[in-house]
Symmetry: C2
Subunit: 307 residues, 2 copies
């Protein structure tokens, strides 16, 4: 049994590679909900949906989010009512958010509705939100606090980052199964996701870091930083704002209390002494998942590193 802590696009690609090699039911994914957003009265969980859509074969590959061949007619309609349209919700995608929102309103937990969604779409791996309580990643800039989506989508990450907070984390509980999945796994993977705003919120949920420290599983991270920059997304600026070097060593430092192994890109193999300094064993691989074959090859390298 493998448990993975996952953000969005990069995580989803690795996991798609992984389920080509192991039984999908042997994978449990713990997903980030710090990026969740309430839009048009709907509860949107972008990272959970990216993982689900990718494993279901529905993802829009070109965009890296949303459903393939989607239309945006409802979004166009919302513009007429003066509603926010900077966050792109497609028409097919909307069904997921409507179903989630209605289920939550009727009293279902986010865990229960996340499970119903992945099963309805034919995903055989378990997907757990990190918490059933709201935890929201907030980024303070010179103009005030932004939600992650406001920072990343609306402002396109082009603002100064003064502070990052995980609002609600202190009062949140890990969702049912989260701590068990870490404790009883053969291996725990930290997907190649943003350490500050994708993995960070999961680690902020009380109990998760303790479980990672105590598990007898090998804990293996894949570096989302290659050759001094994030493969995608705003991880670089966020790590720098947190005082972390934008390098695999910076990621290793963030995870050093509980990390055993880190997969780094071939271009970064010179950094292995720095990883060893944090007590992390380096594994060198080709980490850029530019096509399906490379996703599977990277997943194979991970499985080999786990032995």
């Amino acid at each position: 049994m493998i448990t993975a802590l996952a953000g969005g696009t990069g995580a989803a690609k690795l996991l798609r590679g992984l389920v080509a090699l192991i039984a999908p039911a042997d994978l449990t994914v713990i997903g980030n909900t710090g990026d969740d957003i309430e839009l048009w009265g709907l509860h949107v969980s972008p990272d959970l949906d990216t993982v689900t859509y990718t494993l279901a074969g529905l993802i829009d590959e070109a965009k890296g989010w949303g459903v393939r061949d989607d239309t945006f007619h409802c979004l166009q309609g919302m513009a007429a009512f003066g509603e926010q349209t900077w966050f792109n919700l497609g028409d097919r995608d909307l069904a997921t958010h409507l179903f989630r929102t209605e289920s939550l309103r009727r009293g279902a937990t986010l865990s229960a509705v996340t499970d119903a969604i992945r099963r309805s779409l034919g995903v055989r791996s378990r997907l757990l939100p990190m918490s059933d309580q709201p935890v929201r990643t907030k980024i303070r800039s010179t103009t005030g606090w932004l939600t992650f989506q406001e920072f990343f989508v609306k402002e396109k990450g082009q603002v100064e980052i003064l502070e990052v907070a995980y609002e609600g984390a202190d009062a949140a509980l890990p969702a049912p199964g989260v701590l068990d999945a870490i404790s009883h796994a053969r291996a725990v993977l930290i997907c190649p996701s943003n350490p500050v705003t994708s993995i960070g919120p999961i680690l902020a949920v009380p109990g998760v870091v303790g479980a990672l420290k105590e598990t007898r599983a090998v804990v293996l991270a894949l570096s989302p930083i290659v050759a001094g920059a994030a493969v995608s997304g705003p991880a670089g600026a966020l790590m720098a704002a947190r005082g972390l070097p934008v390098s695999p060593a910076g990621v290793a430092r963030a995870y050093s209390e509980w990390l055993d192994v880190m997969v780094i890109d071939r271009r970064d193999q010179g950094l292995t002494p720095e990883l060893l300094q944090f007590g992390v064993s380096p594994v060198v691989a080709d980490t850029l998942m530019t096509d399906r074959q490379r996703e599977v090859a990277l997943a194979r390298a991970v499985l080999e590193a786990l032995g």
Copy 2:
């Protein structure tokens, strides 16, 4: 100033004809909300939307409901989650329901959101829901009580009608402006809509019948029944179930306490003695609105009858 009591398609066509002849701002429409339905957690007001979309030039002419050139991708997506898909909500149409639902949840009244929707879509006539409180038309059949949409859309009207009720009507108040619009109009039009499930719910709101009786305005109805059958929809079966003849005279009987004039189709001119018996002055016209020209011609006949 003209005030119109309106159901869906037939009413909307007449009103579109009317605003080609009078200043749109001189028209106030009181719309039926007895057919409103909660679907996927959304508040849908089919009759209000049909009037709004028609006056905004957005209606799907072929269907008689919904938005022109709409897609149904969200609906297809909902099927995967086992959600009800017998009521067709298009993707563009969804924006209206999302905006309405979110506004109501934030505390807006149905009146306020209906006004915001028609203004956003460029409709210059006022549109008032009959009430801000829920009134729901229910139809009892051999299998139990159905909402109007379950009866008409899901069951296609093919069930025995034992009873019709306007749930919530006793406790409802007329929406702000409704009684005034009837009292202070130059004329009140009863659109060619189903007397039982389109006009009936409006009349069931306390105060509306009183205002119709007391107004000094001419009250003129257009018969939705031509040559012994409803022009569209299930009015025939519903009138029969209420013990009303399926004829203009049956409509006149239902409205006899306060109706002054009724426009009937040329094919029914033999029925004028029956109308006179109910104290209703008959006006004969071509009432089938099969194209825009005929809509305007019928509206012109109405204005001429008002003098």
